[in-house]
C-alpha cells in the first residue's frame, strides 16, 4: 500500500537543487531536495547546532534563526527558499575567539538556561527584540518570547536576562554576591 511515495519511487529525474546561502557570514553551497527543510540542511549538512527541533508544528521556536535579518523558524522554511539569502544562527553571536556577547553573558549571569535546548532560539528572538527598538518591559519581553517554549526555566530568568541585556536593573539570582567574579 504505497501512499506518499509513488512519485519518489517512479520519478527518474533527481529532485535536487543547488543552493547558495550565506550562513553566519560564510557562503555555503549545497545540493538539496525540494522537501529538505532549512533546519535539516543547517544541522545535517553544516553541523550548525544552534537551530534545534522540538516540535512538528512550528510551535516551539527551538529552530529560530534570523533570515535576511528577520526572525524565522527554520523548520517552516524549505532549504531551496533560502537560496541567495542570509541566515544567522546562534553560532554567530559570540566573538571569533568565543567571547560571549552581552546578551549571552546576561543569560549566563542570570541562569537563563538549564538544559540549553531552547537557548539558541531564545537568544535569536531576544537579539531581534533588543534590536527592534521596542520598549523593553517585563510584558514586552514575555510577549516577544511567546513563540519560544522553554521547559526548564519557567522563563523568569530568561526575562530577567534580556532586560539586563537592555541595561535594566533586575533581580539577581538567589545567592548572588555583589562583585562576584563571572
Amino acid at each position: 500500500m504505497t501512499v506518499a511515495d509513488h512519485t519518489t519511487v517512479e520519478s527518474p529525474a533527481p529532485d535536487v537543487h543547488a543552493i547558495e546561502v550565506v550562513v553566519d557570514g560564510r557562503t555555503e553551497e549545497g545540493t538539496v531536495s525540494s522537501r529538505t527543510l532549512l533546519v535539516h540542511w543547517l544541522r545535517d549538512e553544516l553541523d550548525k547546532r544552534g537551530p534545534k527541533i522540538g516540535c512538528d508544528t512550528g510551535n516551539c521556536g527551538a529552530c529560530t534563526v534570523r533570515w535576511n535579518g528577520r526572525l524565522a523558524k527554520s523548520c517552516m522554511i524549505l532549504a531551496v527558499q533560502a537560496d541567495g539569502t542570509e541566515v544567522d544562527t546562534a553560532a554567530s553571536l559570540a566573538a571569533e575567539d568565543g567571547t560571549l556577547n552581552n546578551l549571552q553573558q546576561c543569560f549566563k549571569k542570570h541562569h537563563a538556561l538549564q538544559c540549553g535546548y531552547c537557548t539558541s532560539g531564545m537568544l535569536m528572538t531576544a537579539t531581534d527584540l533588543l534590536e527592534s527598538g521596542e520598549e523593553i518591559t517585563d510584558r514586552s519581553v514575555r510577549r516577544a518570547l511567546k513563540g519560544n517554549i522553554c521547559r526548564c526555566t519557567g522563563y523568569e530568568n530568561i526575562v530577567r536576562a534580556i532586560r539586563a541585556a537592555a541595561g535594566q536593573d533586575v533581580q539577581k539570582p538567589h545567592g548572588h554576591e555583589e562583585g562576584e567574579a563571572q
Binding site: 534545534k52 538544559c115 540549553g116 535546548y117 526555566t153 519557567g154 523568569e156 545567592g175
Partner: protein, 818 residues
C-alpha cells in the same frame, strides 16, 4: 527508627560550595556548541522511523512491507515477529496476577495486538530521514479493531475488554495500605468530609528535546554503543541486556547534553532495543530521532489517578486525624516503570501533615492509552494533591482559616526527625516559617483586601496555598512492597575523580544531568576538597557507562543528586586526596596525615617550605613510579572511585512500614489569581514559592529548579492535558494541541528560601528539583477560594470551561460534611 544519623562531613574551606557560581555548562550551550542527541555527526548514519498504530486497541491482521522496500534509500526493517524471536520480554516489576500469565512488553507490539495509539509496530531504516519516513509510510498494516478501554474506571468493570489477554485482568497491581485505625478515627471524629471522586489528570513535562537514540554495533567485538539522553543508564543497560540476551558489559551507553528528561526518558530502553537490533541486523549505525507527535504518544505520560470514596476525619478544633481513599491509577497500556508508583507515593504518606491514620486501597490499572513513566513529582504529587485538596475543602466547609488550619496540622519544627504513619522519617524542615514567607511574597493581607474590592466587578480574586514535600534518595527496597521477590534494597550512586598526568583534575559522576548543573556543583565541591579553584576542575559532561562512575541505580531521577551524586563525589575525592597525601608524604618526608591540600599544592602542615604542586605529584606517579617507595607506588593510581550508600534498612513488608526516602525538601507556594466570571479565564496575579532543601550547594541552581518546577505545575494546572477521546485517540499529540506554557502565560515568580540542613546527608543538602507539584495544589485552592464553596474543584486540570462549570455550582453534590 530505621535510619541512622550520619554526622556532617567537613568539605574543606568551603571557598566554593554554597555560592551562586555561574555554570560550567553555559558557555558551550550559549555558543551553540553543545552536543545533543541529534547533533553528533556519524559517517554512514542511517535513520529509523517507526510505523505506529492508529488504533487504540486492535489485532494486527497483516503487515506488508513490499512497497517500503521499493523506496529509494530503504535499508531494512524490523517486524514484530522478528523482535519477538530476538528478544525476551522486558523485565516486569510486578509478578503475574494469581492464576494468570505476566504482561509481555517488547520493543514492538507483541502478541499480534496493538494497545495504544502510537504503539510501534514496525521499525524501518533508510539512508536519510526523509527516506525512512517515506518507507515507513509505505508499510501497510491491516488491523481488526478491538473495543478500547479509555477510562480506568471502566477498565475495572467485569465486562471490560482485557488489554493483556494472558493477565486475565486490567488490574496490574492491587494492594491495601492501612496504617493506624482510620475506621475508628472516622467513627469518632467531630466531622467527616466525604468526596465521591477526585481526578488527577494526565500530563507530562514534555522535555523540549524528544528522545534520540543512536545505536552502533561493532561485529568485531560484539559491542553495542548506544548514545542518547539516558536518564538511568545502568537500569537501561540491564533492561536492554536481558531483553536482547546480550552481556551488559558489551553494551556501552553514552549521553552528552540532554534536552530535558524530568523522568520520562527513563523509558528509553524500549525504542533503544529496536534501534539496536536493527543496527546489528543491517550493520549500519542507526539513529532514531523521535518527533514531537511520537513523544506525546509514548514519551511517558505522568500518572493519571482517580481518588474515590475519599474521607477526611477532622476535630472541632481543626485537628485532622486521618484520611482514607481508593485509588485507581491509570498506567496506560504497559506497566514499564509501573507499578512502582503504587509504592512511591507512600514516601509522602503524611504529606506535610501530622496524620495519624491513613488507609488507601490502591490499584494500578491498564488502559488503552500511552504508558506512564516517572514524571517530575512522580506519584507523590498525586497523593499530596488529594491531601491538600481535602485540607482545603475541609477548611472551606468547616469554616477554618486556610492558613491557620494548615499551620495547626503541619509537622512542626520541633518534631523532626518526624516518623510518619508508615515509618518514613521526615528529616528536617520549618513548614510554618516557610508558609509565612510564602504569604509575605504574595502580600497576603493586601491580597485579601484586593479580593474584597473585586466583589461584584465580574472578576473574582482567589488566594491559594500549596504545601508539598520533595522526597529524595529512594530506598529501592520499597519496590518489594509491590513484589516481595524483587532483589532491590537501599540505594547508591557512584563517582570518580582523577588526577591526570599533568596534574589536572577530572571528575565523573554517575548522575546524568539534563539541566540541573551537575558539572557546576560537582566542581564546587571537588575544588573545596582538593584546595583548588572552581576553574581547575573539569567535570565530565553527561554519562558514560564505560567510565566506571556508575552503580546500578545511577542516574538523575527522584531528587537525589545533591545527596547521592555529591556524596559519591565527596567519597571519591577523599580517596584521591588520600593518594595525593601518600605521595606527597613520601616525597616530602612527612606523615600522610600531615599533608594538607591548599592552593594547588600538597603541603606539609605548618611548614611553608615543604610543598609539592599537583603536577609534580601526577608526574611522579604517572612517569616516575620507580622513585616512590614500592608500598606507595603499588597503592596509588590517582583515580578515586567511590560510591555513596544511602543508609537504609529493609521495610517491614507485612506492615508496609519503614523508611523509604532519605530526605524531604519542602516547598510552600502561595498564589493570587483572578478569574473572569464571564469567560472562566484565569490570570495569575502574584506567585510566591519558598523552598527548603537543606544546605545549598549552589543557591542559583536551586532557585532555577524551583522556577522550572513551578512552571510545570502552573502549566499543568491550567493548560496541559493528554486528553483522549472515547475511541482512545490522543487529542493533544503536538504542541499545538498540548499547550505548554509560554513566557506570556507565566506570571513573574517570587522566590524565597529557608535552610533546614538534613541531619542524614553528607553536607546537609537535600535532593530537590521535582518540587512536588505545589502549583497544582495552590492553583486549585485559589480557584476554589475565588469560586467559594458553591462549586467544587475536584479535578487537577482547570481550563476556563472547568472554571465556568465550577462557577455554576458543578460537583457541589459530590462533597458531603458529616
Amino acid at each position: 527508627m530505621s535510619t541512622t544519623t550520619q554526622t556532617s562531613t567537613e568539605t574543606g574551606t568551603r571557598a566554593w560550595t554554597g555560592r551562586a557560581m555561574p555554570r560550567k555548562e553555559d558557555d558551550r550551550l550559549l555558543r551553540a556548541e553543545g552536543e545533543f542527541g541529534d547533533d553528533t555527526p556519524i559517517h554512514r548514519l542511517g535513520h529509523v522511523f517507526f510505523v505506529r498504530s492508529p488504533y487504540a486497541h486492535a489485532r494486527i491482521t497483516g503487515i506488508d512491507v513490499s512497497a517500503a522496500t521499493r523506496v529509494p534509500g530503504y535499508l531494512g526493517c524490523l517486524l514484530p515477529e522478528e523482535a519477538a524471536s530476538l528478544t525476551e520480554p522486558f523485565m516486569e516489576i510486578q509478578g503475574p496476577p494469581e492464576g494468570a500469565e505476566p504482561e509481555v512488553d517488547r520493543c514492538l507490539a507483541g502478541g499480534g495486538v496493538v494497545r495504544f495509539v502510537g504503539e510501534p509496530v514496525v521499525a524501518v531504516a533508510a539512508d536519510s530521514r526523509e527516506a525512512a519516513r517515506d518507507a515507513a509510510a509505505a508499510v501497510a498494516v491491516d488491523y481488526e479493531p478491538l473495543r478500547p478501554v479509555v477510562d480506568a474506571r471502566d477498565a475495572v468493570t467485569p465486562d471490560a475488554p482485557v488489554i493483556h489477554a494472558q493477565t486475565k485482568t486490567n488490574v496490574a497491581w492491587e494492594g491495601l495500605y492501612d496504617w493506624g485505625d482510620v475506621e475508628f478515627a472516622l467513627e469518632h471524629a467531630d466531622h467527616v468530609i466525604s468526596v465521591d471522586e477526585l481526578h488527577f489528570h494526565r500530563f507530562s513535562s514534555t522535555p523540549l528535546e524528544c528522545m534520540v537514540v543512536t545505536a552502533q554495533y561493532d561485529p568485531g567485538t560484539d559491542f553495542f554503543h548506544i548514545t542518547g539522553g539516558c536518564a538511568m543508564p545502568q537500569i537501561t543497560t540491564l533492561m536492554m541486556a536481558s531483553a536482547m540476551r546480550h552481556p551488559a558489559e558489551r553494551i556501552r551507553i553514552v549521553s552528552k547534553d540532554i534536552g530535558g528528561s524530568f523522568g520520562v526518558k527513563i523509558g528509553m530502553y524500549v525504542p533503544a532495543t529496536a534501534v539496536a537490533l536493527l543496527a546489528r541486523k543491517l550493520r549500519r549505525p542507526l539513529r532514531w530521532t523521535e518527533t514531537r507527535t511520537e513523544h506525546h504518544y509514548m514519551g511517558g505520560h505522568g500518572n493519571e489517578r482517580w481518588f474515590r470514596d475519599v474521607k477526611l476525619a477532622v476535630q472541632d478544633d481543626g485537628t485532622v486525624l486521618g484520611l482514607t481513599y481508593e485509588a485507581l491509577d491509570d498506567v496506560g497500556a504497559y506497566t514499564r516503570y509501573e507499578p512502582l508508583g503504587a509504592a512511591i507515593w507512600t514516601q509522602v504518606a503524611n504529606a506535610a501533615y501530622q496524620l495519624k491514620h491513613l488507609k488507601v486501597r490502591y490499584r494500578s490499572v491498564y488502559t488503552n492509552k500511552g504508558p506512564v513513566h516517572p514524571n517530575r513529582g512522580y506519584s507523590r504529587l498525586q497523593h499530596m494533591w488529594v491531601v491538600e485538596r481535602m485540607m482545603d475543602i475541609a477548611a472551606h466547609k468547616l469554616g477554618f482559616d486556610p492558613v491557620g488550619f494548615r499551620l495547626k496540622n503541619y509537622v512542626q519544627p520541633n518534631q523532626y526527625p518526624y516518623t510518619t504513619v508508615n515509618g518514613c522519617v521526615y528529616d528536617s524542615g520549618d513548614l510554618p516559617l516557610s508558609l509565612r514567607k510564602a504569604l509575605d511574597l504574595i502580600d497576603y493581607e493586601d491580597a485579601r483586601r484586593l479580593q474584597e474590592r473585586a466583589r461584584g466587578t465580574g472578576k473574582r480574586i482567589g488566594i491559594g496555598i500549596g504545601s508539598t514535600l520533595d522526597s529524595g534518595t529512594n530506598n529501592f527496597a520499597q519496590a518489594r512492597l509491590i513484589n516481595p521477590h524483587l532483589p532491590f534494597a537501599g540505594n547508591t550512586e557512584g563517582g570518580l575523580v582523577r588526577l591526570g598526568a599533568d596534574g589536572t583534575v577530572y571528575a565523573v559522576t554517575g548522575g546524568v544531568a539534563f539541566g540541573q548543573g551537575h558539572e557546576t556543583t560537582v566542581a564546587q565541591v571537588v575544588a573545596d576538597l582538593l584546595g583548588l579553584t572552581y576553574d581547575d576542575i573539569t567535570v565530565h559532561r553527561g554519562g558514560d557507562s564505560a567510565l566506571s562512575a556508575q552503580t546500578g541505580f545511577s542516574g538523575s531521577y527522584a531528587s537525589q543528586f545533591a545527596v547521592t551524586g555529591i556524596g559519591a563525589i565527596i567519597n571519591a575525592t577523599r580517596k584521591l586526596s588520600h593518594e595525593i597525601q601518600l605521595v606527597a608524604g613520601a616525597v616530602l618526608g612527612a606523615a600522610p596525615e600531615d599533608i594538607v591540600l591548599e592552593g594547588g599544592l600538597a603541603k606539609v602542615r605548618d611548614d611553608a617550605e615543604r610543598a609539592l604542586p599537583f603536577d609534580a605529584i601526577a608526574g611522579i606517579v604517572h612517569f616516575a613510579p620507580g622513585s616512590l617507595p614500592p608500598e606507595v607506588a603499588d597503592e596509588v593510581g590517582l583515580v578515586g572511585r567511590a560510591v555513596y550508600r544511602a543508609p537504609f534498612e529493609l521495610p517491614d513488608l507485612e506492615e508496609k512500614f519503614g523508611n523509604l526516602t532519605l530526605t524531604y525538601a519542602t516547598q510552600i507556594h502561595a498564589c493570587v489569581l483572578e478569574i473572569d466570571e464571564e469567560t472562566g479565564q484565569t490570570a495569575i496575579l502574584r506567585y510566591g514559592m519558598v523552598d527548603d532543601c537543606g544546605t545549598p550547594i549552589n543557591p542559583m541552581v536551586i532557585e532555577g529548579q524551583v522556577h522550572g518546577a513551578t512552571a510545570h505545575g502552573i502549566s499543568a494546572a491550567l493548560f496541559e492535558h493528554f486528553g483522549y477521546d472515547a475511541d482512545g485517540q490522543l487529542t493533544a499529540a503536538n504542541f499545538y494541541d498540548y499547550h505548554a506554557a509560554t513566557a506570556y502565560d507565566m506570571p513573574s515568580l517570587r522566590y524565597d528560601n529557608v535552610v533546614s540542613p538534613s541531619p542524614f546527608t553528607p553536607i546537609g543538602a537535600k535532593g530537590m528539583g521535582e518540587g512536588g507539584g505545589a502549583p497544582l495544589h495552590a492553583i486549585c485552592a485559589a480557584i476554589q477560594d475565588a469560586v467559594g464553596d458553591h462549586g467544587m474543584i475536584l479535578d487537577s486540570y482547570n481550563p476556563p470551561e472547568h472554571v465556568l462549570r465550577a462557577l455554576r455550582g458543578a460537583d457541589a453534590e459530590k462533597v458531603k460534611v458529616d
